[in-house]
Subunit: 322 residues, 2 copies
């Protein structure tokens, strides 16, 4: 794998031919924004480009799809991934397109270096922050579509400029996007991404307040969402998106854990840190990983067994900060 | 009243002597941040300055008070208000110190022009955004305390960069503060201001979800918090802070209204707009006012009578956008 500089990456993008852009499964605002913004940049440079994902793009991100999707199918000359730390995250694309990735653009320090060429900046708040810097080196115009895609990626990966991955450059980038496109729907995007909840989601949150489990002197708050829970309370799974941050709103919490039973006895775990604790270290002891303050893992077993594994690991993780 | 330019305001501040800085009642992050940041700037320039408010500074903003409050009492040579649109908002200080305000620094377009000199910028997201621009013209250092005060004011008045009062300059200002003081506790402030909730507040929100009243085809969501409600559910009034935004999270809402019964039959009304509707115009028809998207008024009568007045006014306000 070759680590490229920003300038080399821009050169690479200018010289590449028709591209497939792959984004990670369970797509979020950053990979969708980065994927479609990059596709438009490549198209502006006269290449064909399309975005591919294991999963459908959720409704909340559909506004980032290009207005005209008249593009015919084409055979790619190169494969680019954006915001994909590990080819495992490509889902069903891993074994096919994911086997020969020519360029990876990413901001996850946990990137497993799977691509022939890589531009990795773990200090960037979002892959979209990197893409704006790249755009400035490319012969492309920041259209409203590109501005809104890049803004959305930055806003969603930073909790609307709330988390500690926000740097001065993050704010300068947001400012620059607003200057490029003052009429962009930034406030509308923020409201859609952060403020508005469906009535189903409000009801779910109302319910979850009664199901917050407090452990380790209140420093660990856990939510366990089993299949039985979903059935009993008739929760639509779509309402669960982004619920991993929910336990962190409790005063005094250090580690927030969300257990989601995807199949009977198979739990997708999300772990969030309020401030000091490195949850990626905790998740690594459980076979997972991620960011310092937002990580995850997969665990199998009964809810009680999985809960015990998590609390043991969380207790050890907290020890390190005493 | 004389409207000063930014440069004239900076000159005025350099030339003034010992100052009392007045902030509005029910203090928020912007007036507290602006007040204490300005006080430190004046102190750095060799003057004495102190901040005065009708109400105690709430616990959540106490971190903006200076660490050392060894200052002795002094007689002011001038009176400055920050973030105060109307001397009425000074509470018990209106009839005394508020009668001879020498300089007003504010970002409310609704400012009633009560001061001898005024720097008003309705385009600024927060009074703290103006104060950063002033600081650059003054012989002062942006200390950690000033950086954190100004950041807090900007963050709280914009819902953490979420609302449409955010401009490119707002983001540039946040970036500049981070550059002046990279070690500032910006993420800690955001978590404290936006993410963390007491258990009492969580329980209140859980309760309010069952008390959301939907009117005008779901375009108006109203919450009525009477004295009886507070007693029945044993709600601590401190938990109500910022609750005015609560109705706006419902999908499809245009106008969110919160009625708070302060005394029997006396309601403090907060009105919020999701996107298009000018709620300051609606509130003006009810004797109040404020910002386009965040306004308020006082109404007296039974809850039912007040609710009817509000819904009639809201219906007319919505008409204008059909």
């Amino acid at each position: 794998m070759k680590q490229l500089t920003m300038e080399e990456t821009a050169q690479w993008l200018m010289q590449c031919e028709d591209a497939y852009i792959l984004i990670h499964q369970s797509p979020d605002g950053d990979c969708v924004g980065a994927g479609y913004a990059l596709a438009e940049m490549l198209c502006q440079m006269g290449k064909r480009a399309s975005v591919h994902c294991n999963d459908p793009i959720p409704n909340r991100y559909q506004f980032m799809l290009p207005e005209q999707q008249t593009q015919t199918e084409f055979a790619p000359q190169c494969i680019i991934t954006v915001d994909v730390a590990d080819p495992k995250l490509l889902g069903k694309l891993e074994g096919t397109l994911g086997k020969a990735v020519d360029l990876c653009i990413d901001h996850h320090n946990s990137n497993v270096e799977y691509a022939a060429n890589c531009y990795l900046d773990g200090g960037a708040s979002a892959t979209c922050e990197i893409l704006y810097a790249l755009a400035k080196l490319l012969p492309v115009t920041i259209t409203r579509h590109i501005a809104e895609c890049l803004y959305t990626g930055i806003a969603t990966d930073t909790g609307c400029f709330q988390y500690d991955n926000v740097s001065a450059l993050t704010h300068h980038t947001a400012a620059a996007l607003m200057e490029c496109y003052p009429e962009g729907r930034y406030c509308w995007i923020n409201r859609k991404m952060f403020a508005v909840k469906s009535f189903g989601r409000l009801k779910l949150e109302q319910l979850l307040i009664d199901h917050l489990e407090s452990y380790l002197d209140g420093k660990c708050i856990l939510i366990c969402i089993t299949q039985a829970f979903l059935q009993q309370f008739e929760v639509d799974e779509a309402e669960l998106e982004g619920i991993a941050g929910f336990p962190l709103q409790v005063e005094g919490v250090e580690i927030g854990i969300t257990m989601k039973e995807k199949e009977p006895g198979k739990f997708l775990i999300s772990m969030r840190s309020a401030d000091q604790v490195d949850v990626s270290a905790i998740c690594r002891t459980l076979g997972g990983g991620g960011h310092l303050k937002a990580s995850g893992c997969f665990l199998t077993g009964t809810a009680d067994k999985v809960r015990k594994m998590l609390l043991d690991a969380a207790a050890k993780g907290l020890e390190a900060y005493r």
